[in-house]
Symmetry: C2
Subunit: 174 residues, 2 copies
């Protein structure tokens, strides 16, 4: 199982970034999404609404005390940070761990407390250059769940896209 | 050469998304970044400032008439859209094209005109699920430039990170 924890959500500034992180988590087959910072019912409802329409039962759960949440997690903790070790150096170890254990992937906010660097089994970076937590999350999930690019795993969806060469084909399902 | 065109930038709503697209383009070794919509000097200065600090000479260029820009482009046009054909079905063809030709990757805005679907040699989707243009761009660039995860190609940088197991190591260069 892969759980994602997005730290320090700020509804005004981060609305779309946190939404993108949650939707990337869903599309690339993470199992659960948690966020800390400021509780945001609009964001949560948005994710549930997308999940209802496109299938599955993915949602975003608010965590008031993220350090306690991390302390209580049983499994391997990965902290995505541009200061970390290169993902290409670590991904094989992480994949091995993933065969037997749950993973928690922590996605930072603007200032990440030392606690998370210390708690993480892996502090990993995607390029050691500044870019995007959304992109870093997509890259690591794609390494862990490459099948997400191939299979259509969402059940109980109300709409579905048919991949098409030009234009849009949207199929409405009952 | 890989050029990126982000359509329909709206400074208030898209500030961070367009910035993330530009920084992902830089980090994953795209060569040039263009955007249409509303001209945004703050965004442009931000990208130049990051590039000055972290190396290279990446910047973001405003395109007033994106359809003309696309019409004038000599090479293979790829439009990222969740309605498109699965990237895993098309990436080998795109890689072959990339050996001989320039690529233009178009990243959509909220409503993408039919023009772009028609003009594109490939309309490609990353999962056919709703998620993030930032993530889709990172995934296709990682397919095209996998070395970006391995090599440190930025010259004339003022700072550099040393990948580290716990914490942060920032090296200041002259």
């Amino acid at each position: 199982m892969i759980k994602i924890l997005k730290l320090d959500h700020r509804p005004l500034r981060d609305k779309r970034i946190t939404t993108h992180c949650a939707l990337v988590s869903r599309a690339f087959s993470a199992d659960e999404f948690y966020y800390s910072g400021i509780e945001d019912n609009v964001f949560e409802k948005n994710i549930i609404s997308i999940s209802n329409q496109w299938g599955g039962n993915f949602n975003a759960k608010y965590i008031e005390l993220p350090e306690t949440f991390v302390d209580d997690f049983k499994g391997i903790i990965i902290h995505l940070t541009m200061y970390g070790e290169q993902i290409v150096e670590k991904i094989d170890f992480i994949k091995k761990d993933f065969k037997n254990k749950d993973l928690l992937i922590i996605v930072g906010g603007p200032k990440v407390d030392k606690f998370y660097y210390q708690k993480a089994n892996y502090n990993v970076s995607v390029t050691n250059q500044p870019h995007s937590e959304v992109a870093a999350l997509a890259i690591i999930l794609n390494f862990l769940n490459p099948d997400a690019l191939y299979i259509d795993k969402f059940k109980n969806n109300k709409i579905k896209l048919e991949p098409t060469e030009k234009g849009k084909k949207v199929i409405s399902l009952k």
